[in-house]
């Protein structure tokens, strides 16, 4: 049995002089509140405040970063309890799933999943031994006991984690009833929705027609034609904003934002309604809608989050058998410069517009994103995320963008996670890495310690609050 300990100086620079500086900077941010402007925790979890499921269903099954790593080494998804789309049999025994996870613990060495899980096990659940075949049952029992207790319910953890604000991600067709329930509950936590219209703007999707019909129903607008479709989206955005939303979220295959002529948009939309849209038209319409969404953001003040460049469900067989979000979404090269030019030419220098650009293609950090953010008043850079919300990638992000865009054209860390219990661990990584980067600037004579501390505090508080400030705030 290997003891599980957390080094208080973990992830800080290793050179003792720089580490001492980093420790000083980090000390000023480690206990600041968590501002979580982009994530995938369901509002329902906090509305219902039910105990989490068993340890495997809390920490393993829904975390596709964990399951994909085990799958990449030969474990079948079924044996990890990953539900099949056809409802066929998968492992039901949480303890068995947990044992399989523990047997693969060494696979996570050097990964952020390992870091987050260590942090959660140690800090949230009080575990003091490493996962292994020998310790699997002991840890499982300990976790199960904790999960059952009131202090481990979602709201109690939310409060214990020091979350100031949590933004969820929601379909335009959502009635946001869970957000309403939270607001009505008297609980003090702030949980705001985020408007994510991807399912509605990608015409080729199976289920699109059903979704626009649901959009009609929930918005009260007739989505039978393009004008009604736009009106319905506007209605939903207004509703989201009224429920506290700060932002929209747009995941596209490319960064293309070329608008269509009105007549073309109408024609393509009508073809989609008739079930007869081709892939080229669907792509053009998605690009067009990115442009239109920018227009609506300028009009209603919702901050526009854009993250292109992921080919979803690379293995069609995995998608067919297990559905989306199973670790087979693979990044591709992105061209932000040509792609976003139509959108930024129209709205990029408009004081009423703000956008945050995310990527998983690191090559764009220094080449495209930092120069864009260092020029356009509307553009902020999203945190490194997805495959990049890890210590080394976060450091590379700061190293690649700061010299061109500075610190104040970034927008704060986002945890982007479904794994509720990992939220503090994730924000802590970011604070440690930023403290280390700032300490290096101090140690190399580029910044005073006082400025480094001020910057670290800003990155944790002022910067996300400002980037996602509601209009007029």
């Amino acid at each position: 049995m290997r003891p599980l300990t957390l080094d208080d100086d973990r992830l800080l620079p290793t050179e003792p002089g720089v580490r001492a500086l980093a420790r000083e900077v980090y000390g000023h941010v480690r206990d600041l509140p968590i501002i979580s402007m982009h994530g995938h925790v369901e509002a329902q979890v906090l509305a219902e405040d039910e105990p989490f499921d068993d340890p495997a269903r809390m920490l393993v099954v829904p975390d596709h970063y964990v399951t994909r790593m085990l799958v990449s080494q030969g474990t079948r998804p079924e044996d990890l309890g990953v539900p099949r789309t056809d409802g066929g049999p998968v492992e039901q025994d949480g303890r068995e799933i947990w044992r399989r996870f523990c047997a693969g613990w060494h696979l996570f060495r050097g990964t952020p999943s390992r870091y987050w899980l260590e942090h959660e096990l140690h800090e949230v659940f009080g575990v003091r031994v490493h996962p292994s075949p020998e310790t699997a049952d002991e840890i499982y029992d300990q976790l199960a006991e904790r999960i059952a207790s009131p202090e481990f319910r979602p709201r109690a953890l939310f409060d214990a984690f020091g979350v100031e604000l949590l933004a969820t991600t929601d379909a335009p067709t959502s009635r946001l009833e869970h957000h309403a329930a939270i607001a009505a509950s008297g609980w003090s936590g702030t949980v705001v929705p985020t408007f994510r219209p991807d399912a509605l703007v990608h015409l080729g999707r199976p289920g699109w027609k059903r979704d626009v019909e649901e959009l009609a129903e929930v918005s009260g607008e007739d989505t039978g034609d393009y004008a009604g479709f736009l009106a319905a989206l506007r209605q939903r955005r207004a509703h989201f904003a009224a429920m506290g939303a700060r932002a929209t979220d747009h995941g596209h295959l490319t960064a293309d934002s070329a608008p269509l002529e009105r007549a073309d948009a109408e024609r393509v939309y009508a073809a989609a309604r008739a079930g007869a849209v081709g892939p080229a038209d669907a792509s053009a319409f998605a690009a067009h809608m990115l442009f239109e969404m920018a227009r609506m953001s300028r009009d209603d003040g919702l901050v526009m989050q854009i993250h292109p460049g992921v080919l979803r469900d690379h293995d069609p067989a995995v998608h067919e058998r297990f559905g989306s979000d199973k670790g087979f979404d693979i990044p591709i090269a992105v061209d932000f410069v040509h792609g976003l030019r139509p959108l930024l030419s129209e709205f990029g220098s408009d004081p009423a517009f703000r956008c945050v650009l995310f990527t998983i293609d690191e090559t764009t950090f220094s080449r495209e994103l930092a120069p864009l953010a260092g020029a356009y008043p509307s553009v902020r850079l999203g945190a490194p995320w997805w495959f990049l919300d890890s210590p080394l990638a976060m450091r590379r992000f700061r190293e690649a963008v700061t010299e061109t865009a500075g610190f104040y054209n970034t927008s704060g860390f986002v945890d982007d996670t479904r794994a509720f219990a990992s939220i503090p661990a994730r924000h802590d990584v970011s604070r440690r890495v930023d403290s280390g980067f700032l300490a290096t600037l101090v140690a190399s004579g580029q910044l005073s310690l006082e400025e480094a501390v001020e910057t670290a505090v800003d990155l944790t508080t002022t910067v996300p609050r400002t980037a996602y400030a509601p209009r007029g705030a």
Copy 2:
């Protein structure tokens, strides 16, 4: 008020053992003369040797790295005194512009602009407090007083900076009268022109026709047809060479260098003269002219500097209102391998040809540029520049290219700047970063200290002198 100090060890590695080695290496290069083979200081400045304008017009207004950062955070270009193309009103009060700059000083944390400005303020102007709203006026007054004194005139600074040679960048239509005036003045400074024909080879440009007519006038060749156009360019190159030019400079959107058939080149040129050239033909002609310029370089010995991969004036509205070079030139991905193949196949192994390749697309450092420079005898790698002439990017350049191309296939630092007073700061950054990189090689057992010192001295002196040596030197 925060005191402004300069750490003598700034930018050197932070680990004390490596820092001591770096300090030793740096000590051998810190006071070597400045060889500035590529820049944008106007010869007129040194020909006329007038005092610089007020502090804001010297340090803020013309430096689009400074103005774009303030603009990216919401300041209007007009409020920074950036001239409008329509001559409309902009801020005239230098002191007011300076105050706005000082209020945004924190935005530059971690950027090379901050580093250069600190260096200039401290070393050139003797300022000892950080810019801030509280100190803005005090610093302004101090700078204004210095600028007015004789030791701060351009030639005095040139001499004080220890500049051995300064290359300017000039249009082929320039008569180089300011270079002639400098040569005739009896002043000892060496200022040479660089031949930059971009405006003439990009047929689509507004103003192109006027420029080729001016080319005819200044060259005495009839640019009415393609043959005359080539003859005129040859004539101007010869004149530049006679005036001391070492190099040409070519900024293209892509690296394409495919030659056209003679008849096609003639046809496209004629169409351009008739005002009827399409974008595809204009692009093809630009690629063709890159090839032709290589041929002329082989013939006349001017070193060919090539830097593709920037989309100019990303925001057309900014361009229309304020013109070019306002911080909205954004890098794009470049394919040097296919693009330059025609050019290098023809001239790359010819001992009479030399070229220097620059990029702002870092991905090409290890993938394309280092392998090309490590094979073709004619190819040298340009310094990291533009967005990349910063401490971390310079380090990444050495880390990415040295293992494949070594040190001696690079061509020395270039400051590439309009900001005259920043020249020593910029070269100093390069010397510090290279010293640090070399020290790391020593500390990791890959190089002796003696070799590191020799290499650092070579990179500062022999390497640029050799890369840009005039034919026969």
Copy 3:
């Protein structure tokens, strides 16, 4: 004369605390056997076990990393003894070639060639002075004397180097007679072939027709049509496997793997036989054959090594005069995500299929390769190689892929070399760099020292043994 010494801690991290940890980790792997799963040493060398040629012909002439660097600085290939394709005169005097190499020794500063050569000279040949014009003859004489002695014959070196297994690279048309001779010789060394069908699947190649005819002869299959071509390849794969082969090897310009319809494949193959295949068809056929080779790997268990993204023979004149592999193969950007999707969709999750992906386009490490390897059970990542098998690039590889793919989705170091005497040096670099990386994880609180040691040992032994394990092992 500069003394040639080897720092025992070379390439380990420079910070003393991390270095101490790295030294501890490295101590557990430095003397482990060498598993060389991918290289270009000829089996004939070990079958015949003749003394190596003179020092220049052993260390300089065949190593295009050495010759290209000298060529890049103006030395003519002829003067380095590089054979001309037309058999014309080149330098014959090994001592003269060696002197030219020694005169250019400074060009290799900071390159892995320098590191490997230092290691070889010091550890294998006992040289104690740096190459230089003054020491060239002395070193030459010392090397010549050693090479002539029995302990420097290939098999003796193989044993002294501690090679556990050496995989060669062989054409499908090879009868593997040298491998058979080694097996029959009674010598204990394990030398296995690798199946590399590139010459046969790239239809446009000069010599293709001759090669498929030879394939027919050696396989006993009629390669007159496509079915026979496939049958012949299957026959050869079976023969290779019977001779101990673990893997196949595929170098393509792109990663395209889209299969053709059977009828199209037949048609294109027939056209090629008739000498009438166009470049588009040839490319499509190459992509198709990548898919077909994956199918055969699934069927026969040979691990499929794929390495796209190099434009061969960038300078046609060099190719015409000196042939292939002269340092003018230049990497290009690769799209693994779309390219390999057909292949991985069909075979990527099949437990009977395994592949190893190599690249020289570093941008794909974090963006494409790590996510693919971190999901598909069949995919392992090849070591950084070619231009990237250098200390800094190896470190960047670990930094870019580990956080997403972990350590256990990589496949162990490969030396990929023709330079037999450099094999220990190359593996040693990898062990030092990995030890340093693991030590950094320990020092930053992400891994225990015990786990780091275990991982380092795995990377050197278990990981390559498993990645290339024969079916059923």
